[in-house]
Symmetry: D2
Subunit: 320 residues, 4 copies
């Protein structure tokens, strides 16, 4: 299943080194102004290029294939594609005989067998999140004035981001990070009491982002150490605004009109230039491995716009 949502339904497809990658959106309302230009800002934020991001830079240019007529969405399915132009498939080999630690080489083979596309991670590649970002950019138009903003709070346990990333690069290592996301001007009443709580929906979408391993809403893990009198958010006025926001804007699974706030943990990039050990299925023994190729030292740096997209897709699905 590569589709998310009940009404605003987002499907992503493509492989890291295939011809094109893309996204299909079914259930987008008619009449929304949409051109390729509206997508470039978020696409650009996802793109690599700075310190700690991969030297592989894609053109990332979006092409709207269907669902738009005279500059407006028609209500029919939107399909938006991007050509892969900067592929170096030769970098990847022997993934099956000695799978890279904490990579999807082993699980991908277990799941899809010999037919899994191994080139650059194939369909498992983080590159496929391009489609999430495009869908997110469209979702943001639908949910306005509800606004979503995510940022990197820390990397490798430090808030000195640039320095910490440079150190990891110098050491041929990688580091994780924490991304926080805040949604403002959220209407009261989104979400459902149980299986479709806002926390359920946002976490479902956010854990689709490769490398995300944890999420907390409001006070999150800290709430576990609090008392009720500390944690309870006092309602202060008829709009339901609260003095504190330990709930992260969600009570009983439903938005309460305060900011929806959550934080996610991004693991360190699995691909590092340092030599590692792994099991070699050919030799049937543990053996050293050096990973070639171009990689992000800190994938967390590229995650904020994808987290925004995940939240925007969820909230658009609640609002259409």
């Amino acid at each position: 299943m590569n589709t998310f949502g009940r009404k605003f339904r987002v499907s992503i497809f493509g492989e890291s080194h295939g011809v094109q990658i893309g996204v299909m959106i079914d259930g987008c309302p008619a009449g929304i102004a949409l051109s390729e230009d509206d997508l470039r800002s978020d696409i650009s934020r996802r793109r690599a290029g700075g310190v700690g991001t991969t030297p592989r830079i894609e053109a990332d240019e979006p092409h709207i294939v269907s669902g738009v007529y005279e500059g407006k969405t028609t209500g029919a399915p939107l399909v938006i594609l991007c050509s892969n132009t900067n592929t170096k498939s030769g970098d990847y080999s022997n993934l099956w005989t000695h799978p890279r630690p904490s990579h999807a080489d082993f699980t991908g083979k277990a799941k899809f067998g010999a037919h899994n596309d191994p080139r650059g991670g194939g369909h498992f590649s983080g590159r496929i999140t391009w489609g999430m970002v495009v869908a997110g950019a469209i979702a943001k138009k639908i949910i306005a004035p509800l606004h979503i903003s995510a940022k990197v709070d820390e990397v490798g346990g430090s808030t000195n981001i640039r320095e910490t990333v440079e150190k990891a690069v110098a050491e041929k290592n990688s580091i994780g990070g924490i991304v926080s996301c805040r949604c403002t001007k959220v209407p009261v009443g989104l979400g459902e009491p149980f299986f479709d709580s806002i926390e359920s929906l946002i976490s479902h979408a956010v854990f689709a982002i490769p490398a995300v391993k944890a999420i907390e809403f409001g006070a999150g893990f800290a709430a576990a150490a609090m008392t009720g009198s500390e944690h309870n958010d006092m309602i202060t006025n008829a709009k339901g605004e609260t003095a504190t926001n330990n709930a992260g804007g969600i009570v009983g699974g439903i938005s309460n009109g305060n900011d929806i706030y959550f934080r996610v943990a991004v693991k360190p990039t699995a691909s590092i230039a340092l030599e590692q050990n792994t099991y070699n299925f050919e030799k049937q023994e543990i053996a050293p491995l050096v990973i070639e190729g171009r990689h992000d030292a800190c994938i967390a740096l590229r995650v904020p716009v994808i987290v925004e997209a995940a939240a925007a897709i969820v909230l658009a699905d609640c609002l259409v």
Copy 2:
């Protein structure tokens, strides 16, 4: 939407003070031995009774209404009901004029309006998780020998659980807690690369449990402060076993055959006996509130079997 799952589909229904609550399961395979007796052990674990749990004790007796013939599931939908016997609706009033802090009084009214059932939380009540536990007990039969076990790791920031709970009770307060869950004998290859990653599915189900506010898989938030060389799990043999399990048994969204391990944060019970302030919609001012009724001082104590159920439902859905 009160349904979860694609193939093993669980729907929960009922209200805290209604006639009956229950669960419907569609897609349960035929031929599974099932009687009411198989359900009582997990139901009992969810039940209140100890220190820090509500004095409201339900009989909780399950009645299988459909889907079983001569002691085996038939493949047709299972419906299992429980009568509500110990309701004191008189305890609940004025929830709309002065909504309880961090309760669903305000959001429930915003969502369902004047027709929301306010008695004991109505459909928002934690009592509705009875159905999740029943579905979980059945799911566990399907996924065996895959085994799931959850426990309370700490409450109120302390691992001295009994003492900490008693202190909260004595202070008319409540406390949160952390529940960890371990799944053993997990096959390799469950889950999907993106929107249906195992993390996506488990978090979706777990956040259906009222009071859960955070989840982390494997190293979780700690991973954000680690380097790749620290975090990567070295594969040690042909079965894919790893020397460490920072991934929590899930790589690229897919189970890697190691234990699936995750932890959830449970917030303190919102209902406390201490006086609190809230906005009084009638007087149009902030005013003191004392919550009557019977409540859990530490709802986390009752959560492990529900977390197990959430995980079991997800894994059964992957395996049927």
Copy 3:
């Protein structure tokens, strides 16, 4: 899958000779006046009792278990049950060694194996349509003033219904029939261009009714022999009313504001009192069979209210 609908979602469950049968409805809007009494009229129309219907008459009394508070729907899932009171399981035996012709004995065993509930057809029984009728009665409240009315047009090829049925009963045989359904005051614009065309949705729901084997919209099969100039419906005013209604109120999969009109063919009841031949799996030869038990000679007589329910469920799902 025993669920139909995307937003107004209807699930039916139970077995012919089980404890209770019922229906769950998720996604019913809050605030709809609903009591058991609102359901009795349609339940009564489905009930047997006249010439050509089975002597097995159930009390059919509905019990609302959840989703209603103070006489109004709350927005939470509705569950409505009916106890089975008039079961004679002794009538049914040996269905597997010599399956009844054109009954689900053979396919049910093939699908669910040895665990299929054989009593009175088990989950395959037409009795389970009780839940569809209940859901239909609720759907009709939602879609008003849109109105749905179905009736028997002919049985056994004759419009002299009573006489034709009596003849079949006298001959220990059964007969089929044709049921037509008209929906009036339909808004323009329901349905989708392709997979969720109104024809797709209505036919999907109508073929859930046991014994229905054909459906045609508007001119239907007659359209195949017409020319375009004969078949085209001229629009006569700004509301989109047409001079003829060969389209049955649906163009491009979408309602055009004229009456939605369709006809369904109901096959003769498979159970007949006449001796028939079938394959005897024990003797491994074709052998005679006499079916005991109580049966409808013309099930088509009971189908109109179920067809109405199917259409009402579809249209409610389009309108909520």
Copy 4:
């Protein structure tokens, strides 16, 4: 919703005069040999060109964008596109001021409003069925040796197809037709008892084909005039083969191992060269209309391969 299926999930997109049309398939098993060449035969059968079909002939060339690696499906989503090369948008105008009778001009505007793409029918165009045919060609590979074959039985009420079509063309008129479809080597046990009966699923998919207005399984409408002793299909051996096939291979919603057989009625093409009347929204009166452009006189001629695709998609969804 432009998606069909639960496991083998087919989504179609594009507009008649857009840049590209296409299909996305999620849930296709890994390891199926697939190249563009495998698709050309069915695409060719759908194509226009003979007497009674439109002079607009598209290149129709398929391009596989994702989901295939080294000539085999990978298990990741398949996307297959086709460029629109032969568009004459100038032919279409004034559809809103004077909508064509029995066309989606009026309903499309009612549904999607001013933003509907009017060029060549936009997303309502029969051209979008290209994607169904492509998905069907892939589904046929999955379900083999189960085989599906459809053909035109009659047009305009006559079995003299060529002569009848030529007459309609000469008269600037159009005619309908009947298409029959037979599925052989069907396993026993596909489908579900109620909402997902094989009849429900096939009819849902078949009514997605523009111009289809009726469907009947086995004896179909004729069954309504039969007695049970005439209609019942005697089982003749342990494989469940029956002496007759009035059930069309489906009993209790479930395949019984005999051929699945159904017939569909295709209405006459709505676009005819003869002058017609319609309501003119500008003049606010009924006024004559002459439809320009290129059209099929008998769209039924192109429908068989699309009906096969609909059935193949359903059966693949049951079998994967």
